[in-house]
Symmetry: C2
Subunit: 114 residues, 2 copies
DNA sequence: CACGTATATGAACATATGGGTATATTATGC
DNA sequence: GCATAATATACCCATATGTTCATATACGTG
């Protein structure tokens, strides 16, 4: 199996996966949302399909693509040994995240999830 | 910043990170454990350092490398939207994981890894 | 069955990156 | 200050992979 992290290394593939996280989509829909030529999208979908990130269902001339959960769990599994580590550094972590993605200025706005 | 997933796409870098997950190490120690030529190790360490995955501390002529937590949390953050999704598929997931890494057969033989 | 739509595939190319060897740098101990 | 150890960098090369354009395949409709 092609390693999951190699698959995710490609920004357009991550974009496609993020799209599919909300709902399944046809190739044409994906193509329009990520603004890539159709062959490019099809090729990325092929990679994602062969790596088990997505599966496709035939709907007339369309193919509807949707996520499969397994590879995500593999990532989780790989991350597990590090989780112990970073949980002991939560303070530095929050400072870092505030730099990367500063929280709303404490009014009554909803605090952004991270 | 170079995207975290691109960094993790490299197997040797993942190996180095896994090593550092247990404790900090010098370049020479890493070199011996991952069985790569020293320049290769130094290059990967540079990439990891510039991406914020590790930091180095000077100890005489050695540099001790240790993990930094922030990039791991970025991965967590990226995964979050998908977590909702895969948690609704736990059954299929467990079946998959059993295929990838079967649980011990409860006897006393050790099942061969694949 | 001809045509349009939707998707997949093939070929050619450019680029990025990891590995290898040699060399530079920095620190230490004498 | 010199020899040695530990690590970093430069340069070159080979390979892998993403993009583009062209074309092929599959399905649906008249």
């Amino acid at each position: 199996m092609e390693a999951v992290f190699e698959i995710l290394a490609e920004p357009n593939r991550r974009a496609i996966l993020s799209l599919l996280a909300s709902s399944q989509r046809s190739v044409g829909e994906i193509e329009r949302q990520v603004r890539l030529p159709q062959p490019t999208v099809s090729k990325h979908l092929r990679v994602l399909r062969e790596a088990g990130f997505v599966e496709s269902r035939v709907d007339a001339q369309r193919r509807l693509y949707r996520l499969k959960p397994e590879p995500f769990q593999e990532i989780e599994a790989w991350l597990a040994p590090f989780r112990r580590f970073w949980s002991t550094h939560l303070d530095a972590l929050e400072r870092h995240l505030d730099r990367v993605d500063p929280p709303e200025p404490a009014k009554r706005k909803i605090r952004r999830k991270r």
